[in-house]
């Protein structure tokens, strides 16, 4: 099963690599102009640069060139940074990983308890309050939340630094708190709503009614319902994790964090194909791995899935 899934993932990555390559190729902008700047350029200089980056080769040949190298593990050189793509990504990966992990933890730690509380007290004040909070989180764009956080927690109450990635270790973590909260706000809201909905559905199910009819304690009933709701909650948490990766583009730009999100944004604008290709594939691969992990988690969470798997 897993092997089939992995082959599926590889096929998808191949398609994505072709699509991204085509999109960057077709997108407005001109790599030569980006390199030369707004200034006079002799036809010889333009020709030399076009030859250097094989810009006059046919589209398919350029793609196959890239693909051939990529299969050999060579993702090329960043045109904008003049460094190997692996170095460029390696330098920024820790920041983005830490940011995403922190944001995900914050989202999980706040949204799931709030969602459970909200479902357990459906219709009451705490439910309305939690719903209001999630509505704000969902509807406010993340750059606005980021600026508001900056204003409140970096300027009015100067607790956190305003920008940058810090000097490593705890300092970096400290610098990542505000960006992580900004990133967690939107996804936490989604997660909270999904948790609430999943749990409510279980609480209103026949199984719960039956459990109550049998005279089980309310606490036990709720634990049982929560366990049954675990699959949709885990699935949504996984989906939300994939959203975070996209959200880093905005948050990293606002907080001037050198991470993969801001790298992707600038690479796209500069038409730095090697970086765009490698990053898109990396993100796609991570998302694919996350979905596989979610599926595997069903084995742990649901005895029925486990039994089915064993019967095969």
């Amino acid at each position: 099963m897993i092997v089939v899934r992995l082959f599926g993932v590889l096929a998808i990555l191949l398609v994505i690599s072709f699509l991204t390559f085509s999109l960057v190729y077709l997108a407005p902008g001109d790599l030569v102009k980006n390199l030369l700047g707004n200034r006079p350029a002799s036809p010889e200089a333009v020709a030399a640069i076009r030859a250097q980056y094989h810009l006059d080769d046919p589209f398919l040949l350029r793609y196959l060139d890239w693909l051939g190298s990529a299969i050999r593990g060579d993702f090329g050189q960043s045109i904008r940074l003049q460094q190997p793509v692996s170095t460029v990504i390696g330098d920024r990966l820790p920041n983005t990983l830490a940011l995403v992990a922190l944001a995900f933890l914050i989202a999980l730690a706040t949204a799931i308890p709030l969602g459970i509380l909200s479902a357990a007290r459906e219709g009451r004040f705490s439910d309305s309050l939690a719903s209001l909070l999630s509505l704000i989180g969902l509807s406010a764009p993340s750059f606005a939340i980021a600026l508001l956080l900056l204003y409140v927690f970096a300027t009015l109450l100067p607790i956190f630094p305003a920008y940058g990635a810090g000097s490593g270790g705890f300092d970096t973590l400290w610098h990542l708190v505000l960006p992580a909260v900004a990133l967690a706000a939107g996804i936490g809201a989604i997660l909270m709503r999904l948790t609430r909905a999943a749990l409510l559905r279980e609480l209103q199910s026949d199984a719960t009614t039956f459990a109550r009819a049998r005279g089980l304690r309310e606490a036990d009933v709720q634990v049982a319902a929560l366990r049954a709701a675990a699959i949709p909650i885990v699935t949504s948490a996984g989906l939300v994790l994939t959203f975070i990766v996209g959200g880093t583009i905005i948050v990293e730009s606002v907080f001037a964090l050198p991470g993969l999100g801001s790298l992707l944004q600038q690479a796209v604008q500069f038409k730095d194909l090697p970086v765009v290709q490698a990053l898109t594939l990396l993100i796609a691969a991570v998302i694919a791995v996350i979905t596989i992990l979610i599926d595997l988690s069903y084995l742990v969470l649901d005895p029925r899935v486990r039994a089915k798997g064993l019967n095969r």
Partner: protein, 539 residues
């Protein structure tokens, strides 16, 4: 040279929020800094400064100006690397690595290197290093962004142990300015270049030069740290360390300055000026920035091949009002492509202004614009699009104003904001007939912009033999005043044909905290070794 701030579309929504934030802030902060003294009036305590923190409005990917040559790259590199010559506060050529120079004939220059010139690693600068650096700067694949300025460069030879002879293919009056760090030449050591296979200016290789500061840390899109060195021939600067952070988001930059995280912030956005002026503990200084903004026409795109159409559009632009209202006076209505400070070699400020104001210009006159359009091939009006870079919101406002005026002529102008890189690609692409030219000159050479816009291979697709002849004559002129006369003639020819329609000469706003003063603040300060100009101000 291009500026490379990295804009984001969602920033369009940000001002409302930040204005709200600023309103709250002014309510609780301790009042404004009206009447804060300019640098010139600040006292120098003579003390050393540990660290000066600078905020840049752009994100740098590479520190070598031959690889990435945005104006911000020039500012950073100016502390680290030098050319044979430099440009002083008044825009005049001064010795840098060359202690003296001589033009032996129309196309030959001989430079004598300074005896005390050393790289930051302690090695002396050799004539071979200079020759190597110059050849690298002129190679379009090694140095895409500087090579085009060295188009008249022919050869460089080490004609003595401390002597370099440089030849040009034709007489070129602007050639010496391209041998400055503000032009195309930043001297590095060949050994250093070879060690990194030419990939210099990256986070691994950093940068090696001869200036007062060396790069000790560089993280692309994050920051660069410069530490002073004792190898510079000009002495030891007062500021021990300069930390330059790249903060492309203007709101984040403002908040960082509010927190006291920045001592200097370059490129304060015009629309944020009131908020920056409110900051306690600092001041905003305004200086000519040698930038040119004008309407750009591509003559290969109809109807802009018709001079009457171009003139009608240029006459519908209310430049006075835009400079007054949009730029809030931080700019000057431009009659010509070259700006008054660029005439420094021959004329002082007022004299230069008088001379340039004599060139005919297209004054705002809608009635005249209507007449012109009626006489043109497009008497019934037409539809077109103008794009502007998201980094230049003032261009967008100017475009909207132009669209309003053009509507009265029956011309429908759609205004479109695009990322700066996309805007760059529209210039002279044969599809966008009307656009903006927004150009930051670093050298301040009077012919730098006009020869780009009207000369050989110009992006407007102008084929005007008279213009080419004037440019070539000006290039061969040895007397500065005679050269400027020819360039004024070129400007007149441009105005008569409306090839390029000048709008304004820009001014840049820079924030300084009260702790920091800058000795001389002119358009040329940040393209020289500016770390050496900073001092601890008496507060």
């Amino acid at each position: 040279m291009r500026s490379t701030p990295f804009p984001r579309p969602w920033r369009r929504f940000a001002p409302a929020l930040i204005v709200a934030a600023a309103l709250i802030l002014t309510g609780c902060s301790g009042g404004s800094d009206d009447g804060a003294p300019a640098s010139a009036e600040l006292g120098d305590t003579g003390a050393e400064l540990e660290t000066v923190r600078v905020g840049l409005a752009a994100s740098l990917a590479n520190l070598y100006i031959g690889q990435e040559g945005g104006i911000n790259n020039y500012w950073v590199a100016a502390n680290v690397q030098e050319g044979l010559l430099g440009i002083d506060a008044d825009g005049k050529l001064v010795p840098a690595l060359a202690s003296s120079w001589e033009q032996t004939d129309a196309t030959t220059y001989v430079f004598t290197l300074r005896d005390d010139a050393k790289f930051q690693n302690g090695d002396p600068v050799t004539a071979d290093d200079v020759v190597f650096s110059l050849n690298a700067a002129a190679d379009p694949t090694l140095s895409p962004s500087t090579a085009s300025y060295l188009y008249t460069f022919d050869s460089a030879t080490a004609s003595g142990s401390r002597e370099v002879t440089v030849r040009t293919t034709e007489p070129d009056a602007a050639f010496l300015t391209t041998l400055t760090n503000a032009g195309s030449l930043v001297v590095t050591q060949q050994q250093f270049w070879d060690k990194y296979g030419g990939a210099i200016g990256t986070s691994d290789s950093l940068l090696l030069g001869t200036g007062p500061y060396k790069v000790t840390e560089f993280q692309p899109d994050s920051h660069v740290i410069l530490d002073r060195v004792d190898t510079w021939w000009g002495g030891l600067p007062k500021v021990k360390q300069i930390r330059i952070d790249f903060i492309p988001d203007e709101n984040t930059r403002l908040l960082a300055a509010q927190n006291g995280d920045l001592d200097v912030a370059l490129s304060v956005p015009l629309k944020q000026l009131p908020q920056w002026e409110e900051l306690s503990g600092g001041r905003v200084e305004s200086v000519d920035d040698l930038s040119y903004t004008g309407l750009f026409f591509d003559l290969s795109v109809p109807p802009f091949d018709d001079p009457k159409v171009r003139e009608a559009v240029a006459s519908a632009m209310d430049r006075e009002t835009i400079v007054d209202k949009v730029l809030r006076g931080n700019g000057e209505v431009a009659n010509t492509i070259m700006s008054p400070p660029s005439l420094a070699a021959a004329y002082g400020g007022d004299q230069a202004r008088d001379l340039l104001m004599r060139v005919p210009a297209h004054d705002f006159d809608l009635a005249r614009a209507k007449e012109l359009l009626a006489e043109s091939t497009e008497a019934d009006g037409f539809e077109t699009t103008i794009t502007y870079p998201s980094a230049g919101s003032q261009l967008g406002t100017a475009a909207q104003a132009l669209a309003e005026n053009l509507k009265q002529l029956g011309i429908t102008l759609r205004v479109r904001e695009v990322p700066t890189e996309e805007w760059l690609a529209t210039i002279g692409d044969g599809q966008h007939g009307l656009g903006f030219m927004w150009y930051f000159s670093t050298t301040g050479d009077p012919a730098e912009i006009s020869s780009y816009l009207l000369g050989e291979g110009n992006p407007s697709h102008i084929a005007d033999a008279d213009a080419l002849e004037l440019i070539s004559k000006a290039g061969a002129a040895t007397e500065p005043a005679a050269r400027i006369d020819l360039l004024v003639e070129l400007e007149t020819l441009n105005a008569e044909n409306t090839y390029a329609a000048p709008l304004w000469w820009g001014r840049s706003l820079t924030f300084f905290s009260d702790a920091v003063g800058v000795r001389t603040f002119t358009p040329y300060t940040f393209i020289g070794p500016w770390g050496n100009q900073l001092f601890a101000a008496a507060q």
